[in-house]
Symmetry: D2
Amino acid sequence: MPGNSFGHSFRITTFGESHGPAVGVVVDGCPPGIPLAEEDIQRELDRRRPGQSLIASARQETDAAEILSGVFEGVTTGTPIAVLVRNEDARSRDYAAIKDLFRPGHADYTYLAKYGVRDYRGGGRASARETIGRVAAGAIAKKLLGYEGVSVLGYTCQVGDVKMPTMERMTLEQVEASPVRCPDPETAAAMENLIKQVRSERDSIGSAVEIVARGVPAGLGEPVFDKLKADLAKALVSVPAVVGFEYGSGFAAVPSRGTQHNDPIIRRQTGSGGAPVIGTRTNNAGGMLGGISTGEPIVVRVALKPTASIPQPMETVDTQGNPQTIVTKGRHDPCLAPRFVPIGEAMVALVLADHLLRQRAIRGTE
Amino acid sequence: MPGNSFGHSFRITTFGESHGPAVGVVVDGCPPGIPLAEEDIQRELDRRRPGQSLIASARQETDAAEILSGVFEGVTTGTPIAVLVRNEDARSRDYAAIKDLFRPGHADYTYLAKYGVRDYRGGGRASARETIGRVAAGAIAKKLLGYEGVSVLGYTCQVGDVKMPTMERMTLEQVEASPVRCPDPETAAAMENLIKQVRSERDSIGSAVEIVARGVPAGLGEPVFDKLKADLAKALVSVPAVVGFEYGSGFAAVPSRGTQHNDPIIRRQTGSGGAPVIGTRTNNAGGMLGGISTGEPIVVRVALKPTASIPQPMETVDTQGNPQTIVTKGRHDPCLAPRFVPIGEAMVALVLADHLLRQRAIRGTE
Amino acid sequence: MPGNSFGHSFRITTFGESHGPAVGVVVDGCPPGIPLAEEDIQRELDRRRPGQSLIASARQETDAAEILSGVFEGVTTGTPIAVLVRNEDARSRDYAAIKDLFRPGHADYTYLAKYGVRDYRGGGRASARETIGRVAAGAIAKKLLGYEGVSVLGYTCQVGDVKMPTMERMTLEQVEASPVRCPDPETAAAMENLIKQVRSERDSIGSAVEIVARGVPAGLGEPVFDKLKADLAKALVSVPAVVGFEYGSGFAAVPSRGTQHNDPIIRRQTGSGGAPVIGTRTNNAGGMLGGISTGEPIVVRVALKPTASIPQPMETVDTQGNPQTIVTKGRHDPCLAPRFVPIGEAMVALVLADHLLRQRAIRGTE
Amino acid sequence: MPGNSFGHSFRITTFGESHGPAVGVVVDGCPPGIPLAEEDIQRELDRRRPGQSLIASARQETDAAEILSGVFEGVTTGTPIAVLVRNEDARSRDYAAIKDLFRPGHADYTYLAKYGVRDYRGGGRASARETIGRVAAGAIAKKLLGYEGVSVLGYTCQVGDVKMPTMERMTLEQVEASPVRCPDPETAAAMENLIKQVRSERDSIGSAVEIVARGVPAGLGEPVFDKLKADLAKALVSVPAVVGFEYGSGFAAVPSRGTQHNDPIIRRQTGSGGAPVIGTRTNNAGGMLGGISTGEPIVVRVALKPTASIPQPMETVDTQGNPQTIVTKGRHDPCLAPRFVPIGEAMVALVLADHLLRQRAIRGTE
């Protein structure tokens, strides 16, 4: 079983290398009748694209999305939706010098160990460019979720030691207002300064992103391996540079007590048909119990390692095993969180769309 | 797609509720010719079993494993291996009182929201007893991995604020020497004291477990969604009470710099056929780059929330939405890490066995 | 990917060898709230069991089904339903003599070629006994389908050259009235006589079974690989001894013309909400167009080869490749159709249950 | 689970409608290091293309294949291979007249019943054009199989009542020598005449295709649901217009006796390492026992219904349920076998490639 597909009922398959002709995705299982246009996809791709500010990579990509199938007269038809993005600014000459070297922190050696051959141009399939297919598919998932009243919003919550304070509900506009995608203006400014400083030192820095999904109905997630928390973990950790995942209290639960951690259960309101809608007073559970959504907001967080590509000499070996020094050239973000935000949102949206459809198979729409 | 199966080439399906007739697992895809006896499975089940010390639950379970298929004349045949464990000490009368109540921190409400019906006896499928199937399957995976030179070892690395110091390589004997399964005797004693204190306060406490796999060949893990790190994240987060996952540097990478974090690449030795064996000087990557194993030890860590079942009154509602107070009776571990160790090892072993076979499909055994 | 699972949303995994401790099945994805008792399963297993008449094998098996999980207070809970059947009459001494011989028409050689080891007792996993898990799971699928108004009925339509005449709708009682399971009494008698004659000649004979599903709503089946016709083909051809599959006109379409073959489309009635219910005047399409159900009866047929085990000397070799003569002893049906009927029904029911749930994922229950 | 993917270890996903921008396929799991060029794919697409002779459809399509990913410096890299074919001659105006009508023998009504919306231009996803992705992927599978010594060859064995005589081994050149793709020149001429006559009568006719795979090693196929015969059945029956499948003796086994049907087992030769290579004197089993390959040629046959699109008035209804008469215009083959040959070969190749890799996961390449 190869690994380029994700999801079961809402299932995507991505393809493409950073310096090949194109990257793209096939979305299989999107329900029919959802209005969908290329602009819906383009908007999210534009958020993902580098070169948007001084703190990000300068690679000029237009990343124009073309829908090849699955949409007719402006709505989805239920058949596979293929989205294609041509690679335009593929300067493969940049990479000839490192053809026989393994870049520290990159997948160069592991791809060679795995396959025996390697597309050495810019990371090939391990490039961040692979996430274009994820973001395009996530845009479609977001459309579907929107019709069900579900929203997904991410933001940079930590860069280096600079952490965002606790905020009540925030908006997409607040997030997009700063190039670091932190909705708190003061923290955003501090993060931006730190990133600039790191860049001036020819270094990179780690970061963290939090993603919140609201309006998720109770009951999503499949016992026991495909728990919602497990699929969210896989979805997010599968993104390049993600080195940690937590939800709700997460690692902060380790030093905590059960009396503090258990969320008291309350009656939120009366639902349709008079049935009570249950909720919790606190949300240490991050919106999931037993791996199934509670109806409270889903809250997840990921840790991103510092960008591996830094313009400083690093110790490595060549394919013959001889010691070498390498300096990664090219254009690289010193901090990954800002560009990760739309990618992380896409992965969360894909998991939720999949589980929404899987739950329908069990109980219908009732 | 229901969620009770895990893995692709080495694939398991578990079944059973805590208070039904039995729990068990079907392992499909185990290669033929592996010596396997019920004792191999029983040994791991015994490690998982509660009631082993003063700090753990007092439920008396023998958990005797019976192999129903897939083994002939002492070796695996390539056909499905079904393992059955009867439930013996199922005091379902303990649970009648909470039939109409939702226990905080438990999956009672979410199962009802998902399915419309609920097996209210002891958590049903959401019970920790479900992990028996995982551990039994993991024992088989460990046998397979053992033939390939791969070992998997877990240990409690933190209970509350008590953290284990950095240790070089440790042994199963060191881990099993203490009831908390911490290989450092001094830390183990401190952890044990803390757990006893928490228990005396009728409370519970969070914890963390680290798992290390050694001897994993470079090249395991499938780009891009089924990265080894992603499948490990899913496998471990799918276990009840796991609220966070990280590998290598993990969340500690957030405040770090690229110049510190990138592991320098070195030549370890000369392999068979004269090809160089590549390694890294440090292992911040936790043995994976691009989600593919590097050949260095795989190092993962999980956060476990405090046990939800505590003998104190908690605020909740009943199925009608009326406010109620609940006190969870029964026998519960105040700290989950010690019993999680064999479960976590099993999940890591299952992921590695699966990817070992998946890699063979791509390249054969060469 | 091993091959002991079938279906996606309604998914089964079978296990067990003919002479091991037990055979069984895990059904994952059955919706909650379906009344289910062991008798529902036992009834179908009893239909499958050999030793029911003079024309069938004399092996005495009680095949008592035990439900191990997934049912609580008489209804399904949505969690996996495991069904166990112990092997009781496993005379493995019968098989020691053929330990090193390959039986013609059996899977002895191919299992050895595949796995390098072989459970030589009675065919092991390739035994007809493996179908117990299918029939048990099919009984559950039938319960689910019954709630949706779908019925599945099979019957022997040909034995050797004896063919059943075209019949309008028939009943389970008519089918079960004869040991050959042909609903036309005259044909049934002729078939029975032919089978007895073949048996007296120490030979076996081929046969065919037709299965009809009524009440299947239009719209089931997934373009393009998981067409309903394709999944039915796979489901039925996966059963031992099935050597051909056709639906609707089938192979009779080869010498036909399009003007005869196209089914004229008509308005059947007015459905709920005033929408027209569409049907076809004839049903050459066997209830499927584009691999999706039309609402007309689904009609499929399979060819069964003559029983491979016959009490006559046959030419073979041993595991060393030396020429040998083998006479299969033991108790074997000379014609497979009668016992295949409940197995074939089970496979059709499993496909329909799966696609019913898959369609719900796409459109809900609306 | 949507249905646009096929295979497990060698897995394809197709996309595209007949009158949308493009059709294509993503092949995931192709091993690295296989030389592959666009010409390898183009050659097979050219065989599939209509408009090649008087007896076939006149639609002019160049169907130029573009490889978008997964190939670097002329060899596969192990990453997904995406192949794109633009739709060029998409005269969607031809179809406006039938927008609200259901064509008999077509999937118009069933797609609408399934999805609630329908791409009415030329069958949309149910068009024969969908098979382009299958043929492109099959070309890649053939390359892989070629390196393993496996060949796959199909031919038209029956048109209407005209059957091909039994032939010993035939070649691709013999098959391609006639526009009907029958390797026996005399039969080919008779078939061609029959097709011309049928066309002149504004009618269509059924046909059958046989496909033979040689060099398949013993041991391919997964017990019990993913038997090689079962996956071949599914693969072939999933193609539009296929209404029957059989292998080896097939339906001819129904009137046969076990004494005739069992293939005597013989020693073929001495293999590497001195182990005997086992074979069978006859091949009624079509190269598979227990659903696992025996090493003898795999022989399968399919029945194809007469082309549904015929230029004669047919009885139907419109979307409102009103009776209507429809005459299908456009360009259609009166007999489907000739164009099916490369499609059927592709499906067989895909199944064999998948099972070749799956067997490696179990036993390595040894």
